[in-house]
Symmetry: C2
Subunit: 348 residues, 2 copies
């Protein structure tokens, strides 16, 4: 990017430009390509600096910083989660992120990540399901039809060929909107009036609700043999979606155990509850699904490497699609040690 | 700020606007007012969420995230430290920061913080010295005349009335430049050819060098009775400026002990080396200087609350001086749960 010639300047992808980028690439292609970046980074899992996210919890929500680095690039995401926000017309989750050069610490990219997080979460879910769900899984139940739902559906279509959706939300209009938004993408969609109904005949069950509480979105009797559960919504302390009994019947796969034990569905279980790491399955170091009857469960909370993959992907794509502005973010005195002189000269 | 009416928009203070803001307020007034914010936040120290910074160390430097919150506002700073950067025309330290509303997690301000960090570091040093140095301290030695030096000088003038400077740098041209930059600010300045010479007759000794190593910028024999040492440059593991013996002869004051024991001069000392916390002195809970002969030492590493104070101050000042741009950083669908619908409509 030509922008890098001026040391003061950081390429910035606004929400508007992110939407243009998604359309320029095509949302399904975007999800497919992004999934490849996510998978690639899971494959080199051991080369990342990993740390649980740094969370500031408050009564109504949480603000988190999620940093990681592969030694060459450094990325972090700022993300909030405030379920009550929708009442004031705000998003439950908003995010932005930065990718930097480890060699000199200078940011290479600042980008909105509200839309990008929805895309990377869906891409990660689909990558996990590609390795864990039964082959020929075509029908997915989606329980919780908020901001994440369409992205999940499209990622599962792009990676697994899912083409039948069974939607349920406590707010019927959310399911109707999801169904309407996905018109023209080749899904056969059934809007259901109970979660029990939604899971009937589903190969994959995605739970992606927003309430911050220990809820039972999925009870034990609703989960049949061979199902893959993609549990996305339970992602912070005190916020779970699955009845505990499901966890003991399933083989549970997680991103980063130290974080998932605090934030995921397995926060309900003892500290030594057995889990497998997704990256080990992808890298062929651990068995994924053991048979057609097994229940597999991806206890997803979202991890910093996935944001890193998304930042890398966007930065790559900007070379072909220069949908960014130049932000005057970094002080760049003619003489590096003369910061005060720069200030003085600016007055003149 | 009117900007807050549009939920997608975050006020952004560029480097250019930060310089304009400093000049609109006046650099000495800026430092004085900022010091008051820093002091105010030290006074309510116990109301902050405090955590050591999250550091990603690499061979040539470090990238850090420094978050904190008082329960109403949340702030974090991104900052790098790469001493070798000056060789490629880059700054050793660059930074930017964000202030957010804890209630909804939305950012209220994004700002450059390279210049702002220099200002807040100087303001914090001066606040500490106001409480620790001998009254009527007028002469300050500054060892290391890089990007921080002029800001330190001006803050000590604004808060303590320091008006005589004794400058030393291994690179004489740095001292000459510092001296030139400070012309017209009412200092009597002596450029010295050795640090030993610089400390002669100094009431306050500021060390603010950049090399990432355990150096001896100040040796024990150079520190006379009654001096206040403002040790700014030793601020990460393996980077110190003072000979160990000085620490045992001094009363040592720190910002946040868990961080300073890792990053400050006291990394040279055992884990139980006695220190006092600056906030306790400011709040009258601990004695500062015990007598005219005592050596006081502020072992400064920079703490997140100081950045928080700076972010608060800038945000306040923007009301009077609207020197910001509006950044389209946050996705703001008409219907909060309909992120995908927003994306669809953007294509039309």
């Amino acid at each position: 990017m030509a922008a890098q010639l001026n040391l003061n300047v950081v390429p910035f992808v606004s929400v508007d430009n992110m939407m243009k980028l998604v359309h320029a690439i095509g949302v399904e292609t975007f999800l497919k390509e992004l999934s490849a970046f996510v998978e690639e980074d899971f494959l080199r899992w051991e080369s990342f600096d990993k740390t649980p996210r740094v969370a500031a919890h408050s009564h109504d929500g949480v603000i988190e910083l999620m940093p990681t680095s592969d030694g060459r690039l450094y990325g972090f995401k700022y993300v909030n989660g405030h379920p009550k926000n929708t009442k004031s017309g705000r998003q439950t989750v908003t995010a932005f992120g930065v990718l930097s050069d480890v060699d000199n610490g200078y940011p290479l990219l600042l980008t909105e990540m509200t839309i990008l997080t929805a895309l990377r979460t869906a891409a990660t879910s689909a990558v996990a399901a590609k390795h864990l769900a039964r082959k020929n899984s075509r029908t997915m139940a989606i329980i919780g039809n908020g901001a994440q739902s369409e992205f999940q559906a499209l990622a599962f279509k792009a990676l697994l060929g899912v083409n039948r959706l069974r939607l349920y939300d406590i707010d019927r209009s959310a399911s109707d909107r999801c169904s309407r938004n996905l018109r023209g993408y080749g899904f056969e969609i059934t809007v259901c009036s109970a979660s029990q109904e939604a899971v009937e005949g589903a190969d994959i069950v995605t739970t992606v609700t927003a309430d911050k509480q220990n809820a039972v979105i999925l009870s034990d009797n609703m989960v049949g043999a061979g199902v893959h559960i993609n549990a996305v919504g339970g992602d912070c302390p005190g916020k779970t979606e699955l009845q505990k009994d499901i966890l003991t019947r399933s083989e549970v796969f997680v991103e980063y155990p130290p974080q998932t034990r605090i934030e995921g569905e397995i926060q309900q279980m003892p500290a030594d509850f057995p889990v497998k790491e997704l990256w080990e399955v992808i890298a062929g170091k651990a068995v994924g699904r053991a048979g057609a009857e097994q229940i597999t469960l991806f206890d997803s909370v979202g991890f910093a490497t996935e944001d890193f993959s998304a930042l890398r992907y966007v930065r790559d794509k900007l070379q072909e699609h220069p949908l960014f502005e130049n932000l005057d973010l970094l002080a760049d005195p003619d003489e590096p040690r003369d910061l005060f002189g720069m200030l003085l000269r600016a007055a003149a």
